[in-house]
């Protein structure tokens, strides 16, 4: 296991295992990351090398690195597990990024609820010499789904307000303190630290599709939790590693609350790897894999997620404030079998209207989820509009943090 362990790794053990932090010329490291094909693991899947290059081109040595460990996704545990057990990989990645993009200051933005992760990161930094400690600080990210959105993270560091801002300027142009800022998920940084040491060839030789990554498996499996996988491992591999399914599963939520529902049988052989998934119209996102048991109702599960996402709007943009709460309310009435006459029609119409109409991508992600649900659970939604349910069962409680 490269990215997670049983206990918090000390600097001594970390160095013993991986050797010292390599010193590569910035151009060489960025080229290595670009050719590795590493995509960001915070959810959006943007190519890491290209992001570093974009900041490097603008930095003039005054950039800032913001390591994003906010992890506000309710079904994800992977970033906190990484930070809690392999904090030095994250520190290494941030130091390498700072060197490559031309940054002095490093901010570790860690979800305030992730206590063990924050403690481990603090301890890890304290093991470094004073000059490094002087350049780095830990900032507690406030709770909430949008706190980890990159403009929200920058806004919080600058002004103590973790709501997204209008872009442009994007953080890579003007971020923390008005300086070009690299906002990078902590797992992406940890992987960059491994690629810097072992080379892109090592990375692309891993697994079936090249690369490794962390995922969080939950729902109808025997053992929920974080798994480190070779990218390209299939849904069936991941379920097996989780001790197998508990009973039958009818659907799987991939990519988290900004991802989408897919059918288990159809995707049983799906390689979990961002590019393959994108080609099938699915999202790897932040690596969430959540199985919905066969005796649970998809409308009910979706209703809980939409209620959560609506509640997490930063309440700045009209379409997000009103659109998401209307969608959540209609879904809730459908789920409760007390739908108004046109609820399903309105749901379809509204879910087609919100994309691209917020300052951030919160409404885009939310309607992506509801649209996948309307498609996969089409028969269920139709039944619920008639105030009936195809799955007469106790509804599954989808975990909401």
């Amino acid at each position: 296991m490269e990215l997670i362990g049983q206990t918090t790794e000390s600097l001594a053990t970390h160095r013993q295992r991986l050797g010292p932090l390599p010193t590569l010329p910035p151009e060489e490291l960025i080229a290595e990351l670009e050719s590795s094909g590493l995509l960001g693991r915070g959810g959006a899947g943007f190519p890491v090398g290209r992001k570093w290059r974009t900041v490097a081109e603008r930095s003039s040595g005054r950039a800032v690195v913001l390591a994003n460990g906010a992890e506000g996704e309710p079904l994800s545990r992977k970033d906190r597990s990484l930070m809690a057990t392999r904090p030095h990989l994250v520190v290494d990645g941030a130091l390498l990024a700072a060197g490559a993009v031309g940054a002095n200051d490093i901010i570790f933005y860690v979800g305030t609820e992730h206590r063990a992760a924050e403690a481990a990161m603090r301890h890890a930094l304290a093991e470094h010499p004073a000059d490094i400690q002087g350049r780095a600080q830990i900032v507690s990210a406030p709770p909430g789904y949008v706190s980890g959105e990159e403009s929200a993270a920058v806004h919080f560091v600058n002004e103590g307000d973790a709501r997204p801002t209008t872009t442009p300027p994007r953080p890579f142009d003007r971020g923390v303190g008005g300086r070009p800022t690299l906002v990078q998920n902590v797992e992406s940084l940890a992987l960059a630290a491994l690629i810097a040491r072992r080379g892109r060839d090592w990375y692309v030789d891993q697994g079936r599709r090249g690369g490794i990554g962390l995922i969080t498996v939950s729902g109808a499996v025997k053992r929920s939790g974080v798994q480190e996988i070779a990218l390209g491992s299939t849904l069936s591999d991941v379920a097996a590693a989780a001790g197998g399914l508990r009973g039958d599963a009818q659907a799987v939520l991939l990519g988290g609350y900004f991802g989408g529902w897919a059918e288990v049988d159809e995707q049983w052989g799906l390689p979990l790897e961002p590019r393959s998934m994108r080609a099938r119209g699915l999202a790897h996102g932040c690596g969430v894999v959540h199985f919905l048991s066969a005796d649970s109702c998809g409308v009910e599960a979706t209703s809980r997620i939409m209620a959560y996402l609506a509640s997490q709007s930063a309440r700045q943009c009209g379409p997000c404030v009103f659109g998401l709460s209307a969608i959540a309310d209609a879904t809730q009435r459908l789920a409760a079998r007390s739908a108004h006459a046109n609820d399903l029609d309105r749901l379809v119409r509204w879910s087609g209207q919100l994309t691209g109409r917020g300052a951030c991508h919160h409404p885009d992600g939310a309607v992506g989820l509801i649209r996948s649900s309307l498609q996969l659970f089409a028969d269920d939604f139709a039944e619920h509009q008639r105030r009936r349910c195809l799955t007469v069962s106790r509804p599954e409680r989808v975990a909401v943090a």
């Binding site: 959810g43 959006a44 899947g45 943007f46 801002t165 209008t166 872009t167 442009p168 994007r170 900004f258 991802g259 989408g260 119209g281 999202a283 996102g285 700045q316 943009c317 009209g318 379409p319 997000c320 009103f322 659109g323 209307a326 509204w350 209207q353 109409r357 917020g358 300052a359 991508h361 885009d364 992600g365 992506g368």
Partner: protein, 75 residues
């Protein structure tokens, strides 16, 4: 030179004046917030588009030569 209409979503309060002035390109959703037709503003509507920009009570509408930086694609 083609331009596109952009809404500052945080600033927009849903007054709806833009949709009145430029129904060809702007409609309103169920809560009164603008839905802007994709693509560049055609030449014959450029003058009306400028007026819609100028008349927005909260200055939330603008004409831009290039779209906002594409941003993250989530799906």
């Amino acid at each position: 030179m083609s331009e596109i209409l952009e809404v500052n979503r945080i600033r927009c309060d849903g007054h709806g004046l833009c949709a009145e002035l430029l129904p060809e390109l702007i409609s309103l959703d169920d809560w009164g917030y603008p839905i802007v037709k994709k693509g560049p503003v055609p030449d014959h509507l450029a003058e009306l588009a400028r007026r819609a920009v100028d008349d927005c009570p909260v200055l939330a509408l603008r004409l831009a030569r290039t779209p906002f930086a594409a941003g993250r694609t989530l799906r």
